[in-house]
Symmetry: C2
Subunit: 308 residues, 2 copies
């Protein structure tokens, strides 16, 4: 059994020429999600944000911003084009599209190159691959347009591969409950005060959206032995004051390797020594700096052998 | 510019029910190579072996054995099926088919799973993936039939990714000569007494077949920046008396990461500590033991950023 946990991600910030993304209405977002071959399965809201849990990952909609993540073999590129065509590219101040390291890129409906070609029909796009092609790498495409993000604007992604240990074992077992999973992941402590919306998939797999004011976090777990993948995505600053979240989740899930991607409003002082692993740093023309780092459990020298 | 240097490899040992593979004649092998969408560009022979240099890698034919390697998007599976259909599976005592870690598996004509399904229409096949799906890994399929290889039967593969330094730079330059490349790679010293047959491709790329008695070595270089790949394949025992070959080539080409695959006649004592990197060991039902190991230059913590 194979499921591609690794997500594609789109993030868009709109300008005043559109009143509010939330006022586009639920039907609009239902349609947009369907373009990717996903479905809304649950939702929560607060004064700032509508958070949709999807059959494949998540969608968060704020008044001037949205973020959509989809995994498996979903076609997020179609959702993006639907958004641009129905709302017009003039409403867009910032746009980024990412494709994370896939286990089996040959099973995807479109390649990164094809997605890039489609996007360039609509917007001037800068595109990068971060990392080696034969190791973890990350594709990043963004609207080549100057933008000035707020100083506190940061999002982080923690992407974990090959989880091990007791909690990994539980996540692969049958008859899990959301309560037990929350407890194992220490969600009540790590995301204290957040409203949670979570779901267990059959035979396994877990997704949770968490919101508190304008802050969000979302975790998606694909626990399948030999191709397990867990992502944590948040706009809490896990690079600084919320560093413990990252450390705790890694210590619970014991991945064999993991990546961290930070998007931050560009600062004059470039951070150094933040990452222990192999890394790279990129200043984008759209006002953000991005840091990609790849980490491996150095204790782990026994490679797996899998029967086909 | 992207070229998939990584090879697919088939190795077959036949029994007495066929007189000699070499006597099948050149036309047979021309046809077989064409099935993979490759071409013979040069050849050398000695009393033991016909060694063909191909437009995509190499073919070696002994009386009771052949080995064919093809890179790029060649369809080696079609050559294999052509061999089985024209010669009958009864002539086969040993069969193995490998697909190495590809940079861009999505560009291949067939997936590993599809190749496996095709093969199983003809032979009972055991198949394995060695290594993590998100890191270097190696697919190995073999005929599930007892076979007793000669004690001195070993083949080794050294697969190098992201070559660096002066020699790498030369290999990427224009107007290279085979003489200069031989000198840079120290071929005359490393393969002293071997007959060499080599070729430089345009704009770059280099292949060499080397034979001496029943021994062979072959090196294929795809030097393209950001997706460089070099393979060395030999039946010299680079695990023991010819260990210096491996060390010398790695020190010349300075790959960021490399894999070593050893195939040896099964011995009662299992080797330990042969590899410094992450590794795995497998005893095959066809009489060989295989060791796969993955190595990384630990000094190399800066990840590349590539414009798309």
């Amino acid at each position: 059994m194979f499921f591609e946990g690794s997500e594609k991600k789109v993030e868009v910030i709109v300008n005043d020429s559109i009143s509010s993304l939330r006022s586009l209405g639920r039907d609009f977002w239902v349609e947009m999600v369907e373009k990717a071959n996903a479905k809304i399965i649950s939702e929560i809201s607060n004064d700032f944000c509508d958070a949709y849990l999807l059959s494949e990952s998540s969608l968060f909609v704020w008044d001037n911003r949205f973020l959509m993540l989809t995994c498996g073999t979903t076609t997020l590129i179609e959702s993006i084009i639907y958004f641009i065509e129905s709302q017009n590219e003039r409403v867009i101040d910032f746009f980024s599209y990412q494709r994370k390291n896939e286990y089996k890129s040959n099973l995807q409906v479109t390649s990164v190159e094809q997605d890039l070609e489609r996007l360039r029909e609509f917007l001037p796009i800068k595109a990068y691959r971060l990392g080696y092609l034969d190791s973890h790498h990350h594709y990043l495409m963004h609207y080549d347009k100057a933008y000035k993000p707020l100083e506190a604007d940061h999002t982080s992604e923690l992407l974990m591969y090959h989880i091990r240990g007791e909690v990994a074992q539980y996540l692969r077992s049958e008859n899990q409950t959301v309560e037990e999973i929350r407890k194992h992941l220490c969600l009540d402590t790590l995301f204290s005060g957040f409203e949670l919306d979570d779901f267990t998939f059959s035979p396994y797999g877990y997704s949770v959206n968490a919101i508190k004011g304008d802050k969000y976090a979302t975790i998606h777990i694909t626990p399948e032995e030999n191709s397990s993948y867990v992502s944590l995505e948040t706009n809490l600053n896990i690079n600084e004051e919320y560093k413990f979240i990252c450390e705790k989740i890694v210590s619970i899930l014991m991945p064999t390797s993991w990546d961290i991607v930070h998007f931050d409003a560009k600062k004059t002082v470039i951070k150094t020594n933040i990452q222990s692993g192999a890394h790279c740093h990129l200043d984008l023309s759209c006002g953000y700096e991005v840091i990609f780092s790849h980490h491996q459990d150095s204790q782990h020298s026994q490679l797996p052998i899998v029967n086909l």
